[in-house]
């Protein structure tokens, strides 16, 4: 749904007004996350307002979506972390070794660390967590996939957990760095799903104190917090009030009026308007896949590579990305997010060329035009059904799809945009009732390519869902992805993934658009950082500033 012009105009008015009130309130400049101005104060409660859906369970093992990753970053920690360069770093595990055949991994745990309920963080706890993820009763989806190749965790001794794998998995560390496989207290898990969903027990800098559904989660400081490097130092903040505020304009107004300190999912125009004010912008694209339009190669017309190329050559998304996202993101030419060090781009494949698109369609037999100006072949119209999940595509993205609809019409495509809710969208995919679709996919590391483009992923789960929406079935690509998954050599792995991405791009299976957008605006707080794993914010070093 697009916002009518008056609302935008009023948002602009609000910005002007809030900017005025902001500049009278203080120094007016830079209480940014990197600003060491010294006005920071210890203590206090930070208010975070999220626009993501309220989790139905605060334990990210259950289900496993981004809203759960966001909040659980504050109270649960993974075995390993990942820095901005993509290097895996120690976290609850201080070290690890892998056997030559890649089937046995030993993780060493720091001694003497405990969960906030006093339970020790030992090998038995790690084993209990993996078993929790693999238990069908848990209903894990994301974490379940992440530990899919782990057949068993063996407790060698209290500080050594040995993972036995059914097949080599080069992505294991990246998988375990995700919030969806974070380690929690086995005693907490044993309380049963209801209790554990309400307040999972972890090792993080904060502890879940109370959850008022539809309103907020109250988090209080973990006084005994031990950092990944082993130093015991609690967070500066006394607590976090995690509020659920679905409306983006309201979140921005609440930030401007000082009711909240941090908001996520701001609208692009809010980000632009906040420049030059005392609001700090954090741009933290999500890892894994870029946002892209996937073309269904399993049926006409996109079973023909020429038609796919014609669609991509005539789509011309770049001007739309520039205007609709107000310059806060750049166009992508890669299957992977720009934060992935192994991302491979080829801009030359995506240049706008309407004449070339027309020639390709002529060559593919779509030579006639009907009364409405759409191309036809054997009396059949060149129609592209495009189900759009209104849960997953923000307003600006839906507008971009409309522009692509208009652009490809020039070449003779009839793109039918079908906005729908999530369950209808899954159903449309399951019934193969689409020619184009766009779905985000967040996962740490290039192994997301295997999830999205391996022929195994065209086989539907019992629920009917499959992740390879383009339905790519290419033995050469499968071989590259399998080899990359089994490789222990980082350089070789990167090379295999580059080759795999070249095949995906050159096959015109997808039209890359931009990184998965993940922006935060902060005000009256400094030291907010985002993790190098799934780009969630951490407030362990955050402090409120005098205003």
């Amino acid at each position: 749904m697009r916002r009518p012009a008056p609302v935008i105009a009023l948002s602009a008015l609000a910005l002007v007004l809030s900017a005025c009130s902001g500049s009278t309130g203080g120094d007016g400049e830079g209480s940014g996350s990197s600003d060491p101005s010294g006005s920071a104060q210890a203590g206090g409660t930070l208010v975070y307002a999220t626009g993501d859906a309220e989790p139905t369970c605060l334990d990210p093992h259950v289900g496993g979506n981004y809203p759960q990753a966001l909040i659980s970053t504050q109270y649960l920690e993974p075995l390993v972390g990942r820095d901005a360069d993509g290097t895996i770093t120690p976290w609850l595990a201080t070290g690890w070794t892998v056997s030559e055949d890649g089937l046995t991994w030993d993780f060493t745990l720091a001694e003497g660390r405990t969960f906030t309920d006093g339970t020790p963080v030992d090998a038995a706890a790690v084993k209990a967590n993996v078993e929790h993820l693999q238990d069908p009763d848990t209903g894990s989806s994301t974490g379940y996939l992440a530990v899919g190749k782990v057949s068993e965790v063996e407790v060698v001794d209290a500080t050594t957990a040995r993972f036995h794998l059914s097949a080599p998995d080069a992505a294991l560390l990246e998988s375990l760095s995700q919030q969806w496989t974070a380690i929690q207290s086995p005693a907490g898990i044993e309380r049963g799903q209801d209790a554990n969903c309400a307040a999972p027990i972890g090792t993080g800098p904060f502890v879940v104190e109370a959850w008022t559904p539809q309103q907020q989660v109250d988090l209080v400081r973990n006084e005994d917090y031990v950092r990944p490097d082993g130093t015991a130092e609690p967070a500066a903040l006394e607590g976090i009030t995690w509020r659920f505020l679905p409306d983006a304009a309201t979140r921005y107004a609440a930030l401007g009026s000082g009711q909240v300190n941090v908001i996520d999912n701001p609208q692009p125009d809010s980000i632009v308007a906040s420049e030059g004010t005392d609001i700090t912008h954090i741009d933290a694209p999500r890892p894994g896949s870029s946002n892209r339009i996937e073309l269904n190669t399993a049926q006409a017309p996109f079973d023909d590579v020429a038609v796919r190329e014609a669609f991509i050559r005539s789509a011309n998304p770049e001007p739309g990305i520039e205007t609709l996202f107000a310059g806060v993101t750049a166009p992508s030419y890669s299957p992977l997010a720009s934060v992935e060090p192994t991302a491979y781009s080829d801009e030359s494949l995506f240049g706008y060329d309407l004449d070339e698109a027309e020639a390709l369609l002529d060559g593919a037999g779509w030579t006639e035009r009907d009364a409405d100006g759409y191309r036809t072949r054997d009396g059949e119209r060149l129609t592209v059904r495009f189900p759009v999940s209104t849960n997953q595509s923000v307003a600006a993205e839906q507008s971009l799809f409309e522009q692509i609809q208009a652009n490809t019409r020039q070449a003779g495509f009839e793109v039918v945009l079908e906005p729908m809710d999530l369950s209808a969208w899954y159903t449309a995919l399951g019934e193969n009732a689409y020619e184009a679709v766009s779905a985000p996919y967040t996962k740490v590391g290039p192994d997301v390519l295997r999830v999205l483009y391996h022929s195994d992923s065209t086989v539907p789960a019992p629920s009917g869902y499959f992740a390879n929406h383009a339905q790519v079935k290419d033995p050469a690509l499968d071989a590259l992805l399998d080899a990359a998954s089994a490789s222990q050599d980082e350089a070789e792995r990167a090379d295999l993934y580059a080759q795999a991405q070249a095949i995906v791009l050159e096959g015109f299976y997808i039209l890359p658009l931009y990184d998965q957008q993940n922006h935060f605006l902060t005000r009256g707080v400094e030291g907010v950082e985002t993790l190098g794993t799934v780009s969630t914010p951490t407030f362990v070093d955050a402090a409120l500033t005098q205003s």
């Binding site: 609302v7 009130s21 981004y66 994301t142 539809q214 309103q215 309201t250």
Partner: protein, 333 residues
């Protein structure tokens, strides 16, 4: 006797409304082979394992034919067992109980505010004298029309932008238990309704001011204040009261938008969240609750109308003509 018939009629209506709403909601969410499992288990970008899917399918009874699920759902509704939420895994009754008070407070505040606004505007418009007064009345009439057609989401956004973000007078968000946070949502909900009720009330006041029964009351020497409160206002409030059921319906539907906009917990937000993930038991529970509330309000206003309007209280077959009505308030005074 009539009261008993009224209550029985209300019960019948309630049963019909519940059955129709439950059926419509069920088939809207589950029709066309739509499967809520992925939405329940995964959400965007995740893929549930086969064992987890099978376990959930059995747990929620989704392995049964749709007709069986529908009859199951009806049987549960009939026995007031609203079941367990697909997504939250807690009893639907608990979710409704938590969300209901917040919405009721919002709707009640808005209704009172709407009545008050409507009354003030109508009184000023009717009582206006002289050229300035007539000009003011004209402006008010115009405002009534504008208010009536103002969408909630727009008014709410304006109030947030100007009053909360711009002037900083009131919070942009609304939390139960904080009265300041109730102001902007209530105004957002009340203004469109007040515009509509104001027009009704003004018409009623204008009509009653010149009606024979007020003339008659004045002729009997009743004071202007007494004539106003006992005759004019009473007459003008009848259509407003009669439409209160509709007003409550309008407030509850508006609450969906307002609760999302101001981040306020409540029934509307529960409904939106549940609809998005295809959480059938919660949607049916919430919709049935709203429908029942509507029936209750309509029944209560029917009863109140009987108290206020003597024409409805003494139905003498063939005699209850509009001419009678002018005489009745006299008999009361």
């Amino acid at each position: 006797m009539t009261v008993l018939r009224l209550v029985l009629g209300a019960l019948g209506r309630a049963a019909l409304v519940v059955w129709v709403t439950a059926t419509v909601v069920f088939f809207a969410l589950r029709g066309g082979g739509r499967d809520p499992l992925e939405a329940i288990l995964g959400g965007p970008g995740s893929q549930a394992g086969p064992e987890a899917v099978e376990a959930a399918r059995t747990e929620y009874g989704l392995d049964n034919p749709v007709v069986v699920q529908y009859l199951d759902q009806l049987r549960r509704v009939a026995t007031l067992d609203l079941g367990t939420s697909f997504s939250r895994r807690v009893p639907v009754a608990d979710l409704l109980r938590d969300a209901f008070p917040s919405t009721v407070v919002l709707a009640a505040t808005s209704l009172v505010l709407a009545w008050a606004l409507a009354l003030v505007v109508a009184l000023v418009a009717v009582g206006a004298r002289g050229p300035v007064g007539r000009a003011v009345a004209g402006v008010l009439r115009g405002l009534e029309v504008v208010a009536t057609v103002t969408p909630h989401f727009w008014l709410g956004a304006v109030l947030i932008a100007v009053v909360a973000a711009g002037l900083g007078w009131l919070p942009a968000t609304s939390t139960p238990g904080q009265p300041a946070g109730l102001v902007l949502p209530s105004i957002t909900l009340a203004v469109p309704l007040a515009g509509f009720l104001g027009q009704l009330m003004r018409d009623g006041l204008e009509e009653a001011g010149t009606a024979p029964f007020t003339t008659s009351a004045r002729a009997r020497g009743a004071s202007p204040a007494r004539v106003f409160t006992h005759h004019t206002l009473r007459h003008a409030s009848l259509p407003v009261l009669a439409l209160s059921g509709w007003a409550v319906g309008s407030l509850l539907s508006g609450a969906v938008v307002v609760e999302l906009l101001f981040g306020r917990p409540g029934l509307g937000r529960l409904l939106v969240d549940a609809t998005l993930v295809g959480d059938v038991p919660v949607v049916i529970g919430a919709v049935v609750l709203v429908a029942l509330l509507y029936v209750v309000v309509v029944t209560v206003t029917d009863l109140l109308e009987r108290v206020l309007d003597p024409r409805l209280r003494r139905p003498r077959a063939g005699v209850a003509t509009p001419d009678d009505a002018s005489a009745e308030p006299v008999a009361l005074s």
